[in-house]
Symmetry: C2
Subunit: 199 residues, 2 copies
């Protein structure tokens, strides 16, 4: 059973996440989070006794879970790693374009703003990236790549998607994401065919 | 001849750039920029009458020029597009790791923080990305790719490098950048060999 307190905590985390996606971490004030969540004043320090940093970690963790779920859904519905990556990028493209290019990746922006200042937030961001790299690497291993090249390629897949979201936002165009999906799918096919051909 | 005023303007832009790279746009206060630049109080509004936004545009423009120069140097010294991209990523890796993973791309973070709020900053970021995509596309066209696929692949190259810088910062490791260089060089070779093979 979910208590009212748990709900408030979830709402605060979700609001922090959405505001970070739009305006970054430093540009998101706690009052704006409370207003956005429709939460009572004081609820941030009740649920997050260390304030903004703890709320930021919760938002990054929530983003990690949401995008990992999107990867899992893409992997379950698509045939093979290349199709799964393409499906994940397409789902992400819909989110970014439906927001009129106002939403970006909260993990990227928190890394860039806070990575030098807060080890706790940087660790949360590193864990978020890892939670996307690991299942992508598993998809690639399932197609015959060894662990090290699968992990390396999975890291590039996540890097490319992160960068493409940024370019899409800057140019207000889905084209960087479409190009990323095409190139990543081709790249995965080339690498996996090489392995297949060598068998 | 460079006047003292021009020097102060340049120093303010360079300081804004460095502070954005470390802490983002919203996290960089004008007083910190003035201190970092060793510039007199009031100099920001003298050189940038519209304040932080104008200074932010100048910092993004400076970042665009610096990285475009790095691409031009890599293109001049390396043999072919794949080697040039590898050389550019290696130069960037040195900058990021020498900073102990404290410096990220100012254009990415300004896009993510301010893209939804300031059209002027977003346009400056889009122009910065374009100033890196265009010469990369030209390198790919020089190896026989048609204009549209060259541009698409160049966009992916820039996206991947941007994302890899972020993952490198989050994980305090050069590995995402090394993987990006390897994969991008392979991808460019595959695409250009296809064209060569078809001729």
């Amino acid at each position: 059973m979910t208590s009212k307190g748990d709900l408030t905590r979830s709402r605060l985390s979700a609001s922090m996440l959405e505001l970070i996606q739009t305006s970054g971490y430093s540009g998101t004030g706690l009052n704006a989070v409370i207003d956005h969540a429709g939460a009572p004043k004081g609820s941030v320090y009740f649920h997050f006794p260390d304030g903004k940093e703890g709320l930021g970690v919760a938002a990054v963790d929530l983003a990690a879970t949401q995008f990992a779920q999107l990867i899992a859904e893409a992997a379950a519905s698509a045939g093979g790693a290349a199709a799964a990556v393409r499906a994940a990028v397409e789902a992400l493209t819909a989110i970014v374009s439906d927001s009129d290019y106002r939403l970006g990746c909260p993990v990227s922006v928190v890394t860039l703003e806070m990575g030098a200042e807060s080890q706790r937030l940087r660790n949360a961001c590193a864990a978020a990236f890892e939670s996307w790299i690991a299942p992508t690497a598993a998809l690639l291993e399932a197609e015959g790549l060894d662990a090290a090249p699968a992990r390396s390629l999975a890291t590039v897949v996540v890097s490319t998607i992160e960068g493409a979201v940024i370019l899409a936002r800057a140019t207000r165009s889905a084209q960087p994401l479409t190009s990323a999906a095409d190139v990543l799918a081709e790249l995965i096919d080339v690498r996996c065919q090489k392995v297949g051909g060598a068998q």
